[in-house]
């Protein structure tokens, strides 16, 4: 996984609530057996019209937001399906940070596994950042995970954000969860030995 330390880039405002993962990436894109190439299907029904041409009103089809690396969105972003294709599509498009008042649990989790930083801020602060992203001549923000600060194009006071220390550590270092867990193999084996004794029915049923 690519480490996340500091990200500087355009932030695109998407003032929608309850954006579900079917909207982020429709089911027809889930037939792939790879993680890459999904950017083309990102927000398909919002980004493209019936005839396949771009919808000029959609934020990611407008300059400078075509080059967005940060997305600022409404409540409960990523609700619905567990499809990791949603963060893969965002990543493939170039989005590496999402700022929202709240996220759906599975999507939130999936972001961290792919080097995407989901930031939760109070709604008023998200609205403020959304306005800046809409109105700034050059809406370039810098997200600094080390100092947990968002630097704004207005040059106004940076906005601080919270993140769980362990997740921050993994993102900063691009750590592979599985590798870390396999270091705990002895503990897993000990657990299994105990469970074989206390709940033998979970181990006996053969095929």
């Amino acid at each position: 996984m690519q480490p996340f330390t500091t990200l500087t880039g355009i932030a695109a405002p998407l003032p929608l609530v309850n954006v579900d993962t079917d909207q982020i990436i429709p089911a027809k894109w889930l037939k792939t057996i790879r993680r890459t190439g999904l950017g083309a299907g990102l927000f398909e029904s919002l980004r493209f019209r019936e005839d396949g041409s771009e919808n000029p009103d959609f934020v990611l089809n407008r300059e400078p937001y075509r080059r967005a690396k940060i997305l600022i969105v409404g409540e409960n972003f990523g609700c619905g399906s567990s499809r990791e294709h949603a963060p893969w599509a965002l990543l493939d498009f170039g989005i590496r940070c999402i700022i929202a008042p709240s996220f759906a649990d599975i999507f939130h989790n999936n972001c961290f596994k792919n080097g995407i930083l989901p930031i939760v801020l109070p709604r008023e602060q998200v609205e403020l950042l959304m306005k800046e992203a809409e109105n700034a001549a050059e809406p370039v923000f810098t997200v600094d995970l080390e100092s947990q600060l968002i630097h704004r194009p207005s040059g106004n006071e940076p906005i601080a954000f919270e993140i769980e220390p362990f997740r921050r550590h993994c993102l900063l270092n691009g750590l592979d969860d599985i590798g870390l867990t396999l270091e705990k193999l002895a503990a897993i084996e000990a657990f299994e030995q105990r469970q074989r004794l206390t709940m033998p029915w979970l181990w006996a049923q053969g095929r």
Partner: protein, 472 residues
């Protein structure tokens, strides 16, 4: 901690391999279900890092999302779907995982076959790369959906790193009215707490209504926990749970069964156990429900009308409502019963079990009605075994005689990864779980409802109060 514990806490605490200082736990996973859509990249990851599957026998795989529901003898026509299903078969063979392939009578929707096989057991932790894994919580298991990276993590380590969620208890007390089903109960719950109401929580469903539900009904309720934002929902195991599981192929047998049941009896929440949040619903307030919009929280009693966004004070929510109504092609104030439909889908991991089919067939038997002209109605059983049982009971004949199509099992039109899709503008009365934009096909319009309500809509060609239909 030895105070009173909730069902969730008992399961969680008995599965912690290790707890970090920040409260994140390495949680042991007892059972892992795998389907073709969210697993190829996980197996690929294992291959790339030279890792094996730690406990292949704790994992069960089945193709369900991409499979055709029509004649399967010539395989899958759509190439990308076929490749995904073949990839699953290859991965299962390479890593030693049991697979119920498309021709196996046990094949079906992953959340239908787990309980059916007795793979789902009380007190266990169950995961699957699918958000409707919450279904298995009906057995008093902690069951939740995960992403593909986590699928790989479970395959490699049989564990997951998880932060302890908060707890919520939803009590539904009283007696359900005539024509009101488990589906109406969960839709009413989602309408009450909202689609993000359960975020960060595990929900325990309790109260006389939940206790009174069959296992199928409890599965319907737990299934849609994710539509209320909760990764998991569960119900305390009881005699109904044990009766359902006894004798299932993978349920414990003999002395182990007795030992297991004794343990399962200790699982229900202790008196005085505390929840972070409690919600109470009165069964008398629950009517047959339908959705009007593009979020499962957009519910209204069938006797109601399409709501008016002008009454919504919050600007973002108002915009969302306006967008939803435009997408759904509905005018505020329209009585729900006046909405015409083109298709009826009776299926999905929410409502494709034998009881759902019995309830639906019963409406046909009682009314003797036929599918309305111009309406296409299909029944997609949740598994091959559900289909066989329904055929043994003669339900297939009842459906076919009334003009329903009787299909092969799979996820089908719930999300249209196979050829079963809505066309743009088509309106569907659906027993599935999501009415999102484009969910059942680009431009398709979905109204979620119960199996009896789906049949009522099929017979009249409009959304219809099943109670009124039966009374007339």
């Amino acid at each position: 901690m030895s105070g009173p514990k909730t069902l969730f806490e008992k399961i969680w605490d008995s599965h912690v391999v290790e707890e970090r200082d920040d409260g994140t736990c390495l949680l042991y996973i007892d059972r892992h279900l795998v389907h073709e859509v969210t697993s190829p990249q996980a197996f690929e990851g294992l291959r790339q890092s030279g890792r094996r599957v730690r406990r292949p026998e704790a994992t069960l795989a089945v193709p369900d999302h991409n499979v055709p529901t029509t004649d399967r003898s010539r395989g899958i026509a759509e190439e990308t779907s076929r490749i995904q299903v073949e990839t699953l078969a290859r991965n299962c063979e390479e890593f030693g995982i049991e697979l119920f392939d498309m021709t196996d009578p046990r094949q079906g929707i992953v959340h239908v076959i787990g309980p059916e096989q007795g793979f789902t057991l009380p007190g266990t932790v169950i995961v699957c790369g699918d958000s409707h894994t919450s279904t298995h919580g009906a057995f008093g298991a902690l069951a939740f959906g995960i992403g593909t990276s986590e699928v790989e993590h479970v395959l490699a380590t049989q564990t997951l790193l998880q932060k302890r969620p908060k707890t919520m208890r939803i009590l539904v007390e009283g007696e359900l009215g005539f024509g009101v089903t488990a589906k109406d109960v969960i839709l009413a719950i989602i309408g009450t707490i909202g689609t993000a109401g359960g975020t960060g929580h595990v929900i325990e469903y309790a109260g006389s209504v939940i206790r009174g539900l069959s296992m199928e009904g409890r599965m319907t309720v737990c299934n849609m926990s994710i539509e209320a934002g909760a990764r998991a929902g569960l119900v305390a195991p009881d005699e109904k749970t044990f009766a359902y599981l006894r004798g299932r192929p993978r349920a414990p047998k003999g002395a182990l069964w007795e030992q297991a049941v004794a343990y399962w009896r200790s699982l229900p929440s202790d008196p005085g156990a505390r929840y972070d949040r409690e919600v109470r619903l009165d069964a008398a307030d629950i009517e047959p429900v339908v959705t009007w919009g593009t979020s499962p929280e957009d519910v209204v009693p069938i006797t109601g009308r399409v709501p008016d966004p002008r009454a919504e004070p919050d600007e973002r929510r108002r915009a969302k409502m306006e967008r939803a109504l435009a997408y759904m092609g509905l005018e505020p104030g329209t009585p729900m019963e006046e909405i015409r439909i083109d298709k009826v889908f009776l299926g999905s991991c929410t409502n494709a079990r034998i009881e759902d089919l019995r309830l639906a067939a019963d409406i046909l038997k009682r009314t003797g009605g036929k599918v309305a002209e111009g309406v296409q109605a299909m029944v997609v059983p949740g598994s091959g075994l559900v289909k066989l049982q329904a055929e043994e009971e003669g339900l297939d004949r009842i459906f076919k005689d009334a003009g329903f199509e009787w299909r092969e099992p799979g996820c089908s039109m719930c999300l249209g990864m196979n050829p079963d899709r809505l066309k743009p503008g088509e309106r569907c009365a659906s027993t599935s779980n999501r009415n999102f934009e484009g969910r059942q096909g680009k431009g398709g319009r979905t109204h979620l409802l119960s199996p009896p309500m789906a049949v009522a809509a099929a017979l009249t060609g409009r959304l219809t109060d099943v109670r009124r239909l039966l009374a007339s």
